[in-house]
């Protein structure tokens, strides 16, 4: 028995010894297969860890941007480290005081990271390097601000538009003409969108949809933004108060609900369940299950990947009658300098280079536009996204909008999306008096939906506003002003 004990102790000691002397992998490790071109300068360079979120061809684009930087000088080597859930991992790394040199985050991470002191303010570095505010499209830079200071810089910007399937429009040209609609162009107002959608719908013998002209819940990523196309706002920029139950937002939710009412919520649920994943040939728009869809600047690259011969058009997403356009929701991926990173000076050099040269490589290969006011003239030549100029115009359009940052940003967005889901599933027929038919029933249903949407969004505003007030109050007490 004693021998067994000693054996176990010896085994444990052996494991500990191996673990102690086993060299840990480091950024500076030279891999002859991957780094042959940098053999001569490898040991002289400062090695930076750049955590970024991309996958698939977007990751390749990011790698190419890093390669271009590494080849263009001999002092720094940037290691692009593909990191899923990059915001959470960056946060944990910051807490553990072991952040990467450069972190690629989302715009909604800026406030919590800046407030928590996890990102360096960049204003001073920008001024020293001659990088000015007017270099950027104002909205994209606003996404990087907190308390009037810039804590990150935009990388891949997002704008969105209406994608329309030209094949469907052509096939139903006669019906569209009969309905007084032009089959050669997409809808320009929400009211027109409804009329186009109605004509483009195709149903099976049992009444279930085969093709939907438009489906407000597809892809379902921006359900919280419909209100903007009706002239609404989620936050009053002047006062910083939440305005979820802005009458325009209420109208937008009631408008989306009409689709569930008209075509049957259950049938639409089942219809959607047959769609494939976004990045697949079975994507609802790419496969031709929906004729029109709200999508982002990246989408043409996915269409090209899965159905290159598809004929489609892109246009600004229509606004309700009387609401000025064109407009688009703008968001952005951002790049920041984590506080306490090992090589801040070199990391800034890399960030600066991305803004001056690198993003042109990244955004071109990812099929996106640049977050700058004046992109270089060569940027558009041979750009893989044939619709890039429309997105660029949308990004610069004066009516385009961002969701102003608050301390409850993510939670607020989730709550508004939940309210949208609530409206979509709300059984309106149970709230109508019996015996109504035809237009009378339609009107009563619309009024009921408007009432319910106003109440639901009112609840969201109340609950989130009280939470925001409490958070702001505590922050103010701790010596920080509200953003």
């Amino acid at each position: 028995m004693r021998a067994v004990h000693w054996g176990l102790v010896a085994l444990a000691a052996a494991v500990a010894l191996v673990a102690w002397f086993e060299p840990r992998p480091a950024l500076e490790d030279f891999d002859p297969a991957r780094h042959a071109a940098f053999k001569d300068t490898w040991n002289k360079r400062v090695h930076l860890a750049y955590w970024e979120k991309w996958g698939s061809f977007e990751a390749e684009a990011c790698q190419k941007m890093c390669d271009a930087f590494n080849e263009g000088q001999q002092e720094i080597f940037v290691h692009y480290i593909r990191t899923s859930q990059v915001d959470r991992k960056s946060m944990l790394a910051a807490i553990g005081r072991s952040p990467p040199d450069v972190a690629g985050l989302w715009n909604f991470n800026v406030i919590p990271f800046a407030e928590g002191g996890a990102l360096e303010p960049l204003d001073g570095l920008m001024a020293r390097s001659g990088l000015t505010r007017d270099y950027y499209i104002d909205n994209y830079l606003k996404l990087c601000e907190y308390e009037g200071r810039i804590y990150a810089l935009p990388t891949a910007p997002m704008s969105m538009a209406l994608f329309w399937n030209k094949e469907h429009f052509r096939r139903r040209a006669a019906d569209l003409l009969a309905a007084g609609l032009d089959p050669a162009r997409p809808p320009r107002t929400i009211e027109e969108l409804d009329r186009y959608a109605e004509v483009l719908n195709e149903f099976q013998a049992d009444g279930s949809p085969r093709i939907m002209g438009y489906l407000p819940t597809e892809p379902g990523w921006y359900n919280h933004s419909y209100g903007f196309f009706f002239g609404g706002r989620l936050v009053d920029e002047r006062t910083g108060r939440l305005t979820a139950d802005d009458p325009a937002n209420v109208r937008a939710f009631a408008w989306a609900k009409k689709y569930a009412e008209r075509y049957g919520r259950e049938k639409l649920l089942q219809f959607r369940s047959g769609f494939g994943t976004f990045d697949s040939p079975y994507n609802a728009f790419i496969e031709g299950r929906v004729s029109m869809e709200m999508q982002g600047v990246w989408f043409p690259m996915f269409i090209r990947r899965h159905r290159p011969q598809m004929e489609y058009g892109v246009a600004p997403f229509p606004c309700a009658e009387g609401v000025p356009g064109p407009r688009s929701l703008l968001e952005a991926d951002v790049i920041g300098l984590p506080r306490g990173c090992p090589h801040p000076e070199e990391a800034w050099k890399f960030i600066l280079w991305t803004q001056r040269e690198g993003l042109a490589i990244l955004c071109r290969l990812q099929g996106k536009h640049l977050p700058f006011r004046r992109p270089p003239p060569w940027f558009h030549e041979g750009h893989p996204n044939p619709q890039i100029e429309i997105f660029e115009q949308l990004a610069m359009a004066p009516e385009s909008f961002i969701i102003p940052a608050t301390r409850v940003q993510l939670e607020y967005r989730d709550m508004v999306i939940r309210a949208f889901e609530h409206m979509w599933n709300w059984p309106v027929e149970r709230h109508l008096p019996g015996g109504l038919k035809g237009r009378e029933r339609e009107r009563a249903a619309e009024e009921a939906c408007l009432r319910e949407a106003a109440e639901e969004l009112g609840r969201v505003r109340e609950s989130m506003q009280s939470q925001l007030d409490a958070v702001d109050r505590r922050a103010a007490a701790a010596g920080r002003a509200a953003p």
Binding site: R88, M91, L92, A94, I95, P112, F113, E115, G116, G117, A118, E266, L269, Q270, R272, S273, G274, V408, L410, E411, D414, M415, R418, E421, H422, N425, P427, R459, S463, Q467, A470, V471, R474, A478
Partner: protein, 393 residues
């Protein structure tokens, strides 16, 4: 150093790695979480003491109440269902049938499959269009419709109440006769005096149920509202947030039913524990009962259940703890939707701590959840005092 001391020291040395891990990975977070629950704590900032504010906010937070409601409703349905199913399964596995070890392995295997794999598998099973469940359900609905259609086609020409119509009785007769013909089973169930009368009454009851079901389904006077019947034809399992059945207050929404159905997938492990105890019940007790003329039902009620009652309590307590901590399945399958109808308390904690960076508030919720689990477990122990039989005492 004397021998007992040396033995004790050696014992301590052996449990030391486990003890250190317990203190570092469970003890410290447990106590730190308690402290943080009184703080405003964004992970990137130092925690700031705010007293009972987090608990005060909890009391008025509609989202927390909703997630607590979801968890309680799920527990109220899934725990009894799991316990009863596992026990039934164990009793079947305990029967002397050919290939018994094979069946035991088959029922235990699902427990070995990782949760994430199970969730993805069920995601496909619940797919409304291509899912296995809806394909089977569609066939069942067709069979029921055929049966009820036949019933009313036959009865259409006659007058009088449905129960009095000859063809209707004809359809119910096979069920009644079946029960009577199942003599051996019937004899095993009811023995002794008036056994024949009891068998006759049981057959009549079955016939009545068959008739009532047929009449109810086809006449539209269903126990489910007509809308619910429509929803059952091709349920959108994971995306339907409306209660089922819709007229029952606090009934679980369809999406929650889906998770409840899925929870039965793992009852094999519970069944194996029951089985171990079932095989431990002394055979002489059953022999004595046989001599006294007890039937299967009496033996189950008077011998089997009391003898395995400690294991039932154990399984109930484990189920309470497990159910209140459910996270991975809804996180993968529904992300809390539709409309937060499957947002369990554990998900609520995760969202607040990691998504919204409110670790202090999340800690307060975690402590409330902990106290709730303790309360439920104590309740289970208290209720069990009169019903659990320990042989050793």
């Amino acid at each position: 150093m004397n021998a007992p001391w040396r033995a004790g020291l050696k014992g301590c040395a052996f449990i030391l790695p486990w003890l250190i891990a317990l203190c570092v990975f469970i003890g410290y977070p447990f106590l730190a979480g308690f402290f943080f629950s009184f703080c405003e704590y964004q992970p990137l900032k130092a925690p700031a003491w705010i007293g009972l504010e987090n608990y005060g906010e909890l009391a008025g937070d509609a989202r927390f109440h909703r997630s607590l409601g979801v968890t309680l409703v799920y527990a109220a349905v899934a725990i009894p269902l799991g316990v009863v199913l596992a026990m039934t399964l164990a009793m079947f596995l305990n029967a002397r049938v050919r290939g018994q070890p094979f069946y035991r392995v088959i029922f235990y295997i699902p427990h070995l499959v990782p949760t994430v794999v199970v969730a993805i598998l069920w995601l496909w099973i619940f797919n409304p269009k291509y899912g296995l469940l809806n394909i089977v359900l569609a066939q069942l609905v067709r069979a029921v419709e055929w049966w009820t259609g036949l019933f009313f086609d036959l009865a259409a020409a006659r007058e009088g109440p449905a129960f009095a119509r000859g063809p209707a009785v004809l359809l119910a007769l096979p069920a009644a006769l079946g029960l009577l013909v199942l003599g051996p089973a019937g004899r095993r169930l009811w023995r002794g005096r008036a056994a024949g009368l009891r068998r006759f009454l049981a057959a009549a009851a079955v016939a009545g149920i068959v008739l009532a079901a047929a009449a109810a389904i086809d006449a539209g006077a269903t126990w489910l509202a007509p809308d619910d019947v429509k929803r059952l034809r091709e349920p959108s399992w994971l995306s339907d947030g409306n209660p089922m059945p819709s007229f029952v207050p606090l009934a679980p929404p369809m999406a929650l039913w889906a998770l409840i159905v899925m929870s039965t997938w793992g009852v094999g492990q519970m069944a194996v524990i029951y089985l171990a105890k079932l095989q431990d019940v002394p055979a002489e007790l059953y022999e004595a009962a046989d001599i006294d003329g007890a039937g299967w039902l009496q033996k189950t009620r008077r011998i089997t259940l009391p003898m395995i009652s400690p294991v039932i309590l154990f399984n109930v307590v484990m189920a309470i703890i497990g159910t209140f901590q459910i996270f991975a399945e809804p996180y993968i399958m529904t992300q809390g939707g539709p409309e937060d109808k499957t947002r369990f308390v554990a998900m609520f904690i995760y969202d607040n701590a990691f998504q919204y960076q409110r670790a202090g508030y999340a800690s307060a919720v975690a402590w409330v959840l902990f106290l709730l689990i303790v309360a439920m477990t104590l309740l289970a122990f208290r209720l069990s005092r009169r019903h659990v039989y320990y042989e050793g005492r």
